[in-house]
């Protein structure tokens, strides 16, 4: 078990190093930041001064080493537009994004898991078809269409909720519901197929043949095994919380990290974009690590298999 954890943590750290390095490569590949910020007609002295100020006149490996050292110390440069520390600019938006994504995630799981399990248990009944029909929404309705439709119905026509902005709980309802419905549809569909896969396995037949009550077969045998693929998709959703918020935050003018990313991309404020990329990368890696460790806990086979493979 210890070898397994060590293996996973080492892989997570390696992935982080790759992400950080990749951000550096892309940042440098995208052209001369001095020209990009100051414009092509900037006087040469100004460009020179800019290069010196940002350390762009040094050899590339020196820049890389400096960059890496700075990232480890949490110094990710300043927003090239307003001069404040990019990390600070992003960090102050994080609570706002969490305020809508965490409730949305809970909603996803609370609706999606039971719906998927029930659909699998009542396969090919009207109930199953209804759930699957509703879950098609998650794959065919883009989140901005879903958000705007809800906004049109509940904010513009019925005037029950504000259509955008932040500040009160009422403002958070529409973004949370939009993300909640779409994510729940994805989880429901995934859980259903994971459950169906498990229910077709011989050990389920064996368990019910040896006289275990059906409810026990479901709770002790089926759910435990279906949990593994389902955890993967939920882990991915946790990791992509910020990514998922990009569109929805823009629809409802919610001033979180997602909306900041959109404006930073539009203004080509590379330092801020980079911090958000790293933030998303860190979240993905952390979520994957958590899922890997949970795997090892849920499924003893994973521990031994990966430990021997890694040795």
């Amino acid at each position: 078990m210890f070898a397994y954890i060590l293996n996973r943590v080492a892989r997570a750290v390696l992935t982080l190093i790759i992400i950080v390095s990749l951000a550096f490569v892309i940042l440098r590949m995208s052209g001369d930041p001095a020209i990009m910020i100051l414009g092509p007609e900037a006087p040469p002295q100004a460009v020179e001064a800019f290069r010196k100020a940002w350390g762009l006149d040094q050899p590339i490996w020196v820049q890389y080493a400096k960059y890496f050292g700075a990232v480890i110390q949490g110094d990710l440069g300043n927003s090239m537009r307003d001069g404040r520390a990019a990390l600070e600019v992003v960090w102050e938006r994080v609570p706002l994004t969490l305020a809508i994504t965490v409730p949305a995630l809970l909603l996803n799981i609370l609706i999606g898991l039971p719906a998927g399990v029930l659909a699998a248990l009542f396969r090919n009944t009207a109930y199953d078809r209804l759930i699957m029909m509703v879950s098609v929404i998650g794959f065919t309705v883009p989140s901005f269409v879903m958000g705007l439709t809800l906004s049109l119905l509940l904010a513009v026509w019925l005037r029950l909720l504000p259509s955008g902005g932040s500040g009160t709980v009422a403002h958070a309802v529409l973004p949370v519901v939009t993300m909640g419905i779409i994510g729940a549809a994805v989880i429901a569909r995934f859980t259903r197929s994971a459950m169906l896969e498990v229910l077709g396995q011989p050990y389920i037949r064996t368990a019910s043949a040896k006289g275990v009550p059906w409810s026990q077969v479901i709770t002790r045998h089926a759910l435990a095994n279906a949990a593994i693929p389902t955890m993967t998709i939920i882990g991915f959703m946790v990791g992509s919380l910020v990514a998922g918020a990009v569109v929805v935050e823009s629809v409802f003018s919610w001033p979180g990290v997602g909306r900041l990313l959109v404006t930073a991309v539009a203004n080509r404020d590379l330092a801020v974009v980079q911090v958000i990329l790293l933030l998303i990368g860190f979240t993905m890696v952390a979520a994957n690590l958590a899922v890997d460790l949970l795997y090892g806990w849920v499924d003893p086979r994973m521990r031994t298999k990966t430990a021997t493979a890694g040795a």
Binding site: T140, S163, G244
Partner: protein, 301 residues
């Protein structure tokens, strides 16, 4: 689906007493109503893509300030503008047709790029094995680990935006799934008699993979391309909605929704028409994709 319909069809053909009155039923079992509707919608889209400038009643850029925000037919408007007009008096129907054209063409080209990239890398992995295969698998994992929306936003931030770059960028969506499938299929094809036979005759790898293995696995690849298509449409319209995709004066379905959002109170039709088209299109292609998958390869589902 097909596994259920095929036996009953054979039974009917085999001289069942019910065969004559079941013609309609057999037809709908083979061609489910949802699939027929989806195919008709796709046919309509193809016609629009081919002939949009000729069908469109107005120039999609023509501004007519006297006709600003005219309501569509279903909200009491006139036949002059069946889907109403936008904030600059441009005809929503004409804009919609042109947007469908742009969105579909981008999604189509991108899917082709993704398929080419995916199949090539998948085959390369299957042919060379060893370190090359490990590298391809690593690339696949890296691509799958990051939400594509974020990668796309980063690239657009770092490299700026042009229609060509944007289309190529969309072409990177989904290649990893196609590569994974292509590699798996090529590996198993290599084990089969026909691949060994042409190899023993002395055919070059190009010939083995291009002329023998590719045609044999084409149906599965087409299915995965079909399933990739609606996702590219969603991605493209999402980025365009954010104002970071297709740039004006060109218009895509996502752009129309994005601009229509500002008029959601006074003129919701600007945003509703393209939204409906996006949903119907992704739904139709997904239905056809699932149907093709069940038809060609029931094991995939």
């Amino acid at each position: 689906m097909s596994t259920e319909t095929l036996p009953s069809e054979q039974a009917d053909a085999g001289g069942s007493v019910f065969s004559s009155k079941n013609v309609l039923r057999v037809f709908f079992e083979k061609w489910p109503l949802a699939v027929l509707l989806a195919l008709s919608w796709i046919a309509l889209l193809v016609i629009i893509v081919a002939f949009a400038p000729f069908i469109a009643p107005y120039d999609y850029l023509a501004i007519s300030l006297t006709d600003r925000l005219a309501p569509p037919l279903f909200l009491g408007g006139g036949w002059a503008h069946p889907l109403g007009t936008d904030e600059l008096g441009r005809d929503v129907l004409s804009r919609l047709l042109m947007s469908v054209r742009i969105s579909i063409v981008i999604a189509f080209l991108s899917t082709l790029i993704a398929a080419t990239l995916g199949v090539s890398l998948g085959f390369i992995a299957a042919y060379f094995r060893g370190k090359v295969e490990q590298l391809v698998l690593m690339l696949i994992d890296a691509q799958a680990a990051m939400p594509f929306m974020i990668i796309a936003l980063a690239v657009l931030a770092f490299f700026g935006n042009s229609l060509m770059l944007f289309t190529i960028l969309m072409g990177f969506y989904g290649w990893e799934r196609i590569a994974r499938i292509a590699r798996g299929l090529a590996l198993s094809a290599n084990e089969q008699g026909y691949a060994t036979a042409v190899r023993d005759i002395g055919a070059s790898p190009w010939r083995i993979y291009g002329r023998h293995i590719l045609p044999n696995i084409a149906s599965t690849l087409i299915v995965s391309m079909t399933l990739n298509f609606p996702e590219v449409i969603l991605l493209e319209s999402g980025l365009s909605f954010l104002g970071l995709g297709v740039q004006p004066p060109l218009s895509s379905l996502g752009n129309m929704v994005g601009y229509g959002r500002d008029y959601i109170q006074s003129a919701p039709w600007i945003m509703l028409a393209p939204s409906v088209v996006i949903v119907l299109t992704t739904l139709a292609i997904s239905i056809v994709g699932d149907w093709l998958r069940d038809l060609f390869d029931p094991t995939l589902s």
